[in-house]
């Protein structure tokens, strides 16, 4: 296709299109330029990306999500008609929610957290590609500077988003074991919000683009918006897929991730002779002078210890393995280390199950 800018052919762009023709022309722009076609999205939806590449996407896309209400507020500021504003302001409510913990941005943060990011790191926007920022900011400037018709027309990518969302949700759930339905909650809402928003915007554009010039502007605006989205994926592809040139300030795999959940003891099986047990912070053994015995102090618990348990726990330091502890005790008590090992594995497993011992 030898598409010139804007996309419809010259003949069509010189005459006034009927509203239905205009809609068809707008849909045609999406069919050829919407970012569902971008190689990065194909990789994403087909499960071909690594976890870190999915993370890069989630992190960068956060910037877009976070700026959408800023963009919509800019559009809103240009509307002199209260009835229009009442409709448009719903977009801001959808994204910001009406209390903390609610709204589209929050749900995107959940998604980012779901793939392992530390929330504060995402919020800081450090590590987001400059190309992402430039592209998103160009969108905000566009809606502030162009006509209201163009500002509204630029939102029409929402017409195409239900398709991409359902493909994405299905593809990601199927292909990535680290993605859960909960992580993708953002898209549940957008499936209903986007068509509602798009219906209004499309109707507005069809009604108000009353000359060939205005129709060309509307189509150009939508093309521009497709490019805003496309460019972001170009940047992601370039930095994180091929050639993999990550700019100096941008996120690198391993950065900004939340601390991994503490080691699970039972989940990963039982204590093995080679494991090095340790008492985590908040668990300690001390001698109780009042009662003349050792106790293990733990969250909301006290464990009374017999002499054997005390002898074992005195050697639990995170460096000695269970086998080493058994050997030491075997030589002190002149007993078979193998028998001791079996006993102390039972005891240590019992404590691990109560979450007062880790390895």
């Amino acid at each position: 296709m030898n598409a010139v800018f804007p996309t419809p052919d010259t003949a069509a762009s010189e005459r006034l299109l009927s509203p239905d023709e205009l809609e068809a022309a707008l849909r045609d722009i999406g069919a050829r330029r919407y970012h569902i076609l971008h190689p990065f999205h194909r990789l994403l939806h087909d499960g071909k990306l690594s976890k870190d590449q999915v993370r890069a996407w989630a992190l960068n896309r956060y910037y877009y999500q976070a700026m959408i209400p800023v963009k919509d507020a800019a559009v809103l500021a240009r509307m002199t008609d209260a009835s229009l504003r009442r409709i448009w302001r719903q977009r801001i409510v959808d994204h910001d929610g009406d209390h903390p913990g609610d709204g589209g941005i929050e749900r995107w943060l959940k998604l980012a957290e779901g793939v392992g990011f530390d929330r504060d790191y995402v919020l800081s926007t450090r590590g987001i590609l400059s190309a992402t920022k430039f592209s998103v900011e160009a969108y905000v400037h566009f809606v502030s500077e162009k006509s209201l018709l163009e500002a509204i027309a630029s939102s029409l990518t929402e017409m195409f988003s239900p398709t991409i969302i359902s493909e994405r949700v299905a593809g990601m759930l199927k292909n990535y074991d680290f993605i859960t339905k909960e992580t993708l909650a953002y898209f549940d809402k957008r499936l209903t919000q986007a068509p509602r928003d798009a219906d209004f915007a499309l109707d507005y554009v069809k009604t108000h683009a009353t000359t060939p010039e205005l129709q060309r502007q509307a189509m150009a605006a939508l093309t521009f918006k497709c490019n805003v989205l496309w460019t972001q994926l170009d940047a992601l592809y370039f930095a994180y897929v091929a050639p993999g040139m990550i700019p100096p300030d941008a996120w690198r795999p391993g950065e900004g991730l939340a601390a991994e959940a503490p080691a699970r003891s039972a989940a990963g099986g039982r204590m093995a002779p080679g494991d090095c047990p340790r008492l985590p912070r908040g668990v300690r053994m001390r001698y109780d002078e009042t009662r003349s015995k050792h106790v293990l102090l733990a969250p909301e618990r006290t464990f009374d210890l017999d002499d054997n348990a005390v002898a074992v726990l005195k050697l639990v330091d995170g460096n000695r393995s269970v086998a080493a502890i058994a050997n030491e005790l075997g030589s002190v008590y002149a007993a078979d280390p193998r028998a001791i090992e079996a006993d102390i594995l039972v005891m240590l497993d019992g404590l691990a199950e109560k979450r007062v011992l880790e390895r």
Partner: protein, 381 residues
């Protein structure tokens, strides 16, 4: 009963001290365990007095100190007090709402040796949680605080008080605890004393909800073995036997109020006629052994039937004295939560009836409120 009574029970050493450092709190939970008449800041014990109390507690054999409130981090000297615990070898447990001063002070608390954090969560859904706690924007602060606790490597316990306003979220609390990286979760059905008694009709869940919540917890315990320990406190009104309140009166725990009064349990002041001693007048040891409030219901001598001859008398120690007073009009009666109490059926019926009605609005906890002591409502046989 005095020190010369020959059959005076042997007094065991206390293991826990609940230090209610302040009644000030940014939350206003309608089931708060603080008394209806809250202490004001001006009357709070000073740092040096708390430090002396902690030293005496360690000497008596106390092992765990629960730094509580109100919101304990509302005190400017919370770090100093925590350090004193660490210096004395006392296990320090910060019982916090996670809002206000909690996050800014957390690093310092960690640095001086805080052992454990128990964070209250009122609900899973932010809007619901904030309605219950009566504080806007509390939930994100709590989540941020929890993340920091886990990041520091401190053990975290989530405490969820369960009632009809959040009983549908029990599964959610479990997920939240796992997600936060908590090691323990307390699913504690509301105990109806103090503010919770005032709000009982707004809080009481029905039996089917309670049973469902217990089943959820039991399944999760199995599923999450080794990952999350879940403690379950079932609601008294639906129980068969009562709880051994505070491990038995004057047997394990003592509670020091912000102004320095020492109580056998946090609700003991609701019992009229009990004489409480004050840490500024007596040593903690004297108070534990000899103060009239502690000796009043210690052991089994004070018991009436059916407790007196019951073979569970040294298991549950007659249940809760405050609840006996509230529901039976006699603090020495068997706790009506016990199925052996002649009043049990009525208490149960009351719970069922309240749970069936549309819940009234919460009466939020406030300092200087004119909510009157609620213990007029009695169930008579």
């Amino acid at each position: 009963m005095n020190a010369l009574t020959p059959n005076r029970p042997v007094v065991p050493a206390p293991v826990g001290l609940l230090a209610e450092l302040t009644h000030r709190c940014p939350l206003r939970c309608p089931y708060c365990s603080n008394p209806l008449e809250l202490d004001r800041r001006s009357g709070e014990l000073d740092t040096a007095t708390w430090q002396r109390v902690l030293k005496e507690a360690a000497g008596l054999g106390v092992l765990h100190v629960h730094l509580s409130g109100g919101e304990p981090t509302a005190r400017n000297d919370i770090v100093e007090i925590t350090k004193t615990c660490a210096d004395l070898g006392l296990y320090s447990n910060l019982i916090t709402s996670g809002v206000g001063g909690a996050l800014p002070k957390l690093q310092a608390l960690y640095d001086v040796g805080l052992d454990h954090v128990q964070l209250s969560v009122q609900g899973v859904d932010a809007q619901n949680a904030e309605k219950i706690g009566g504080l806007k924007n509390a939930q994100p602060q709590k989540l941020e605080f929890a993340a920091k606790v886990v990041e520091l490597g401190l053990p975290l316990t989530l405490n969820s008080v369960i009632h009809r306003g959040n009983i549908h979220e029990v599964e959610g609390f479990i997920d939240l605890a796992v997600k936060m990286g908590a090691k323990r979760l307390e699913v504690a059905h509301t105990q109806y004393y103090g503010w919770a008694y005032v709000n009982r009709a707004a809080l009481m869940p029905d039996k089917a909800q309670v049973d469902a919540s217990i089943r959820i917890v039991e399944a999760a315990r199995e599923r999450l073995k080794g990952q999350l320990v879940i403690d379950l406190v079932v609601p008294d009104y639906y129980a068969k036997y009562p709880k051994a309140c505070a491990g038995g009166w004057g047997r394990k725990l003592m509670n020091v109020t912000p102004q320095g009064k020492v109580l056998p349990c946090h609700a003991a002041e609701t019992i009229p006629g009990l004489e409480f001693w004050h840490v500024t007048d007596h040593s903690l040891g004297e108070i534990w052994r000899d103060s009239p409030a502690f000796t009043a219901y210690r052991g089994t001598d004070w018991m009436k039937e059916p407790c007196r001859s019951c073979d569970r008398r040294e298991k549950d120690w007659g249940g809760c004295r405050c609840q006996a007073l509230a529901l039976a009009g006699d603090a020495a009666a068997t706790d009506p939560a016990c199925s052996l109490s002649p009043l049990h059926a009525k208490v149960r019926a009351l719970a069922v009836e309240e749970a069936a009605e549309t819940p009234p609005d919460y009466v939020y906890r406030t300092i200087g409120s004119n909510v009157r002591s609620p213990f007029k409502e009695e169930v008579h046989s």
